[in-house]
Symmetry: C2
């Protein structure tokens, strides 16, 4: 008789964007599993809950541990920042499903940064959009570059995750350079740092200014489409209603 | 002294994916405003709350009504299915901000269908993805076609909103035809109908099968990247960890 693994998106980290479904999954779990920072975010809600933490680069081990623990009959909640299915653990866990057929899986969606950060800036996405990660740890830069070009040529609104890290300090500049091949320098952009947390910051700026900007790994970046506007401090991509009589 | 408008994403409609922040915005509002179906979804939570409903095609009037009502000193919660900033009301409301500077605005993110539907299918997005609406009510089909081609050429995972309606019964077929110019017919796809509601249905299938599928307006469609797999009934796009030693 196998147990269950919930893969849970906890949102930006605060209680106010944690869904009831996510909270219940964690209540039902015998043990919470995840990256140390995420466990610490929810610990105040479950001070007596057993936890299992692993460092950032040991995701596959964490998933295997969760499935093995569930196979032994326990219920595990694997925690992910934002949404479990957007650069989270839903994929790696599901990839183990064939090896652990007796374990029940349930994915619990959460508020990913494109949405929580978007709400801080106003309505930067609104219409068709792309989400792209600038992290080339697992993806060749050539593939990221192609995606940036395709996103620009499709005139999508764009949201960039992982725009920067110690080893990748110039990636945002490089990405902006690629986008500027297809998009105007006045394209309205924005970023949000520490979404929903202490020290949250936001800025609305042009693509030319964004290229000169220094951002960190806690920042989510938004690049507008050809129709995006800056209005009263909000970054707003029209839905198209203006074309209606 | 102006009032406030909250633009609130209520998620798929059930209480379990309604965030505390969204619930509090509705509690604080003097009146809930929105499309009749969304008001009815939350009415059990706020049985005595004043409401103002409008039909689906009167969004701009609804936004103006909300801003005028707030300017008179009241607090309005404008409700949107899913997330307010993804084909929702955040943009149209923010576009009125210059005309109503005394009104405070707050956008409240919610679980959009790409995430709630994605969780039902497993992990269809996972990595870089695009969201595209097949509704050409406000967007020329040529633009939609270009976006589908760009999304395919970028090898993004793709999520399609509004895949079908009475007047647009063959749009999914047309979209699949366009994608098949760049993607293989065996590309793993999926759809979810009535996400999170009574009568929820799901299916994992190939792109060739998807082209022959009949879906309705309550369905969200997912098209995989070149690496997406079908595993034990789950639609799973790898994060790329397999490439790691």
């Amino acid at each position: 008789m196998g147990g269950k693994v919930y893969v849970v998106g906890i949102g930006p980290g605060g209680e106010e964007q944690l869904t009831p479904q996510a909270r219940r999954a964690m209540e039902r779990a015998d043990v919470l599993c995840g990256y140390t920072v995420y466990i610490d975010l929810v610990r105040p809600l479950f001070p007596d809950k057993e936890t299992y933490t692993t460092p950032m680069t040991r995701e596959r081990e964490r998933c295997r541990w969760a499935m093995e623990t569930a196979r032994a009959g326990r219920t595990v909640a694997m925690l992910c920042s934002g949404d479990a299915g957007v650069y989270g653990m839903a994929g790696p866990v599901a990839q183990l499903a064939p090896e652990f057929p007796e374990v029940e899986l349930e994915m619990v969606p959460g508020i990913t940064a494109a949405l929580s950060g978007g709400a801080v800036l106003g309505a930067p996405l609104m219409h068709d959009f792309c989400v792209i990660s600038l992290s080339d740890l697992l993806t060749p830069w050539e593939k990221i570059e192609n995606r940036l070009l395709c996103a620009a040529r499709g005139d999508f609104s764009i949201c960039l995750y992982n725009p920067s890290s110690k080893k990748r300090a110039d990636y945002l500049r490089r990405a902006c350079g690629i986008l500027l091949r297809e998009k105007g320098p006045e394209t309205v952009c924005g970023w949000v740092r520490n979404i929903g947390r202490e020290g949250q910051e936001r800025r609305v700026l042009t693509l030319a200014e964004l290229r000169e900007e220094t951002v960190d790994m806690f920042t989510t970046v938004f690049i507008g489409s050809s129709t995006t506007q800056a209005l009263e401090g909000w970054m707003v991509t029209p839905r198209g209603y203006e074309a209606k009589a």
